[in-house]
């Protein structure tokens, strides 16, 4: 019964294709060996395709998981120099590298210090890294979305968010 069902499904999906259907109909009207062979060949192609597809629909997920695990393991065993923390602010070296995106040259990282009047806060903010200042300036002074900031700076949203969080944490910890 199970086999019958599978066969039925295979036939059904095979005959959905109009070309196959036409070929089969013309075979029924006029049965030649050539048509029969052609039908068999097309059908075996169809079955192959279905088998491969159903195999990968089930297993591709694991392959991508395995790949991600491999990358993570590799990164863990071979940490990159740029992932090192560069200073006591907890910023990555990677965060400090300027991008050569043309937008960034127009951005003034000192704006933030000019605006803040509170001396204590000003001192802390001016000690932040240039990149952190630029991001805080864009988010809080220019009131941009994190997404827009990321686009302008040519970095990912996650990097913007992370830098923002580290900067705010620093300020919070140092502000007395």
């Amino acid at each position: 019964m199970g086999w019958y069902f599978v066969g039925n499904r295979l036939l059904e999906t095979f005959l959905i294709d109009t070309e196959n259907k036409q070929l089969y109909n013309s075979y029924l009207e006029d049965s030649t060996v050539k048509k029969k062979e052609m039908l068999e060949r097309r059908f075996s192609y169809h079955v192959k395709k279905i088998r491969i597809l159903s195999y990968f629909i089930k297993t591709l997920h694991f392959e991508s998981k395995r790949f991600d695990m491999k990358i993570r393991n590799f990164a863990y065993q071979n940490p990159l120099i740029l992932d090192k923390t560069s200073d006591d602010y907890g910023a990555n070296l990677l965060d400090l590298i300027a991008s050569d995106n043309r937008f960034e040259r127009d951005l003034d990282s000192n704006k933030l210090e000019e605006i803040i009047e509170d001396k204590n806060l000003n001192r802390i903010v001016s000690a932040l890294t240039a990149k952190q200042k630029v991001i805080l300036n864009l988010i809080y002074v220019k009131d941009l979305q994190e997404e827009t900031v990321a686009k302008q700076l040519g970095i990912t949203i996650q990097a913007v968010n992370k830098t923002k969080k580290t900067a705010l944490n620093n300020i919070r910890q140092r502000y007395i």
Binding site: Y4, I52, L53, Y55, I57, L60
Partner: protein, 65 residues
């Protein structure tokens, strides 16, 4: 003929692959896509198609039921 099968299968699995790319970081997505396609191509080559059902046998069975 064989190449057509591979292209067709990859084309049909494209949405699935695109969906799976989200499992890894942004910078590794291109690598993952390539890796997955490579796995698919390998599998198509290696897969054993010994017991493919014959069309007319199935039709016969179908009509007997």
């Amino acid at each position: 003929m064989e190449n057509r099968l591979e292209l067709e299968v990859i084309e049909m699995l494209k949405p699935k692959i695109k969906f799976l790319l989200r499992q890894t970081d942004l910078q590794n997505r291109d690598d993952l896509e390539q890796e997955l396609i490579l796995i698919i191509l390998k599998k198509i080559k290696e897969k054993d198609y010994n017991k493919l059902p014959s069309f007319f046998e199935l039709i016969e069975e179908d009509q007997n039921e």
